[in-house]
Symmetry: C2
Subunit: 405 residues, 2 copies
DNA sequence: TGTAATATGCAGACGAGTTTGCATTATTGT
DNA sequence: ACAATAATGCAAACTCGTCTGCATATTACA
């Protein structure tokens, strides 16, 4: 008797069926631009009255609304035209934030990932962690204010951060990393000592996931960029810093310490000297003219485009070194595609060609190499995508069903 | 009307609930050694009559049977003692096969993974593919005959194969790989030209999954060996050949071409010369005494254990080279643990110590290194595990529920 | 031997989804 | 204008699986 009452998280409750069907219906609406009642019935495989019921519930919750029929459906046969319904992508919003050394940037998207607004603020590279995080919080808030949204309407957020978030306690000491060329484990000033996720969550009043910026740029590339329709991706970031990120099965692979992809620390690849040479060359060129912070790479590319032999040599070495890192990653995870991203990938063939050539030398299989099609907001968009995964995932989650059991 | 009949794979059918509950009940039985009706009710969270019903169905299907109460439950309180039931691990069997250059080996386990029998046959390294596959088929059949089983009782099988299964069509030509030291993409004679999985499936009369042997050894290590309770693993195989495998989230990561982990082809790591030196030293030592095929490594280890300086130097170089490969993999995927396996890992500290030292130099975080606790049947056991994943997965699968949607 | 405690069996109620059937509404084509 | 066509709204009857509650069976312990 009394023992019968205890059962807590019951699986067999038949409301489970309802929740499954609601989740399936919502999923169908999210995937399709618009659906009629009958299309919904066909997609999720329930009877029409049930589909009607599910639709009514979704309308009630505000997840779905009636919409005008799409163009191509107008003259299609006789009979009463069906009503069309669509997912209300504006029933929730997420923020994606990018914290770098020289700037912070935020975007706000709806639940379908359409960007509504973005906001950028330049930062002093020496800014300490509390100030930098405060600036990021304010930027995000300004961003959604610009989109006409209040804080309560933002249902999720994620943030990409340059460098490592956890200080390695191993053989390399952090100071060396900070003072070095950016190839050894690098962190923004003070970021290994503060709770980045907690500070952002407190500042914004909502849970914020934090990840490495390069990995989020890779995610953006898989979402809206050059690597669409690929699940396993190696992403090489060539910008002021050089870095890499790995996507496995369409998800950011963080690894035990969030350090997956940090191949640059392998000394035999020669990253350190190549990046140092690049920076040195950039500084030389900058001394003559304007010196925008963190833009050495662009200067060298511009100079190389003017056939400056020294700059060309520096860039080729840089590309080859990057390619050797990409080769190591490609041999490790055997990805479907390698994406070359970051500001310097916009140098076109100057970087891409030697990269491709060198990569082909070391991989066993010919591997597709594409250059990024995203802009400077790729990290923030990747963060938005990560936040969306969480938010939409929780919408579709059916309590009591463990996908991994 | 007529349009209403079409719906095919219906989700909302309330029998779905039944299937979910049956799967949950079976899962509970698989995970626990034995359960009473009430324990089952508690685990899956349904009412007792429902649990009763589910149990009746599982008994009917032969998946579960009544069993004697376990020891510790005897004097436990008053009241009518509960009947105990247990999963019938013997309601299905799987075969795990290992095809190497010098031998083929098969194991048969029940659905819980308890090995029932194993069978090994030595092979001529020059054997061509059809002969080698026939030998593997016969070995597997002899193995389950030894266990007293007929072919119809085997519900799944998988096979680990030394070397690459698909010939790279890229820059390296296959012949060079075969003639070389085993570091360039290697294949068993003829194995890139035949349909290995198809031939084995036809020969055994059941579907056979095929994977790289090192990756399956890694899986075995995660299942029953030194890496239990870890999800992301880098496994380094040090034996006649050197190789590596990566496990992500507890699963073999194959990669686009099944080549994930083939880090040894990176020339800057120096694998080729180190392995060549090892083989040369082994041959020198063998010339004096007996020369067992593919056992050079053991000779060198034995010699090093007798403090032979040349053998020691060769082994240290080998270990360091292996460690550099492990470092590249560890930086790529940032695993929880690195496992050193293969015959030479049984050399103890002679290999493990320099390996550990060298690996620590290149990884940012201190990383746990363990040596294998599995024997020579690790590949076959890993194959059995892979087959079990499929077989048990299909038992627990609920049609209409996609874990990944 | 009797009583408490626990396990098991069984019947009726309930919830959710389904089917069937019919009426209604909005279009297209004649 | 009218018929044909298709979408929609709605209600009654049915199925399936689960839940609640009660009766019964089996054991330990006083």
């Amino acid at each position: 008797m009394s023992q019968d009452r205890k059962a807590a998280a019951r699986l067999g409750d038949s409301s489970l069926l309802r929740r499954l069907n609601i989740a399936a219906a919502l999923d169908a609406f999210i995937k399709a631009p618009s659906l009629t009642l009958r299309e919904l019935r066909d997609v999720i495989g329930v009877s029409r009255p049930t589909a009607e019921d599910l639709l009514a519930e979704l309308l009630e919750e505000g997840r779905v609304e009636e919409t005008a029929p799409p163009r191509q459906a107008n003259g299609r046969g006789a009979g009463r035209p069906a009503r069309y319904f669509r997912f209300r992508a504006e029933s929730g919003y997420v923020a994606g934030i990018d914290i770098g050394a020289h700037k912070t940037l935020a975007v706000v998207t709806d639940l379908r990932g359409n960007p509504l607004a973005s906001h950028r603020r330049e930062l002093d590279p020496g800014l300490d962690a509390p100030e930098r995080l405060r600036a990021a919080v304010e930027t995000a808030q300004e961003c959604w204010r610009a989109a006409g949204l209040g804080a309560g309407e933002i249902t999720g957020a994620a943030c990409g951060v340059t460098g490592m978030l956890r200080a390695p306690e191993g053989l390399f000491d952090v100071a060396a990393g900070q003072a070095g060329s950016g190839l050894r484990p690098y962190s923004l000033p003070g970021f290994t000592e503060v709770d980045v996720a907690g500070t952002l969550s407190d500042g914004l009043g909502l849970p914020v996931a934090v990840a490495n910026d390069v990995k989020l740029a890779a995610l953006a590339e898989q979402w809206k960029g050059a690597a669409r329709d690929h699940r396993d991706i190696v992403y090489m970031f060539a910008g002021h810093r050089a870095g890499a990120g790995v996507l496995l099965d369409g998800q950011v692979h963080e690894g035990r310490h969030g350090a997956a992809g940090e191949i640059g620390v392998l000394p035999m690849l020669g990253w350190e000297s190549a990046v140092a040479r690049l920076h040195a060359r950039g500084a030389e060129l900058a001394a003559g003219g304007a010196a925008p912070a963190g833009r050495e790479g662009e200067l060298v590319i511009a100079s190389a485009a003017r056939q400056d032999p020294e700059s060309l040599a520096v860039l080729i070495e840089f590309a080859e070194v990057l390619a050797r890192g990409a080769a190591a990653l490609a041999l490790a995870v055997d990805p479907e595609i390698v994406v070359l991203g970051g500001g310097m990938s916009r140098g076109g063939a100057i970087i891409a060609e030697p990269f491709r050539r060198e990569l082909a030398k070391f991989t066993m299989f010919p591997i597709e190499v594409v250059t990024s099609t995203m802009g400077a907001d790729s990290v923030a968009l990747g963060a938005a995508r990560m936040a969306l995964d969480t938010v939409v995932g929780s919408l579709l989650e059916v309590p009591g069903i463990d996908p991994r059991s």
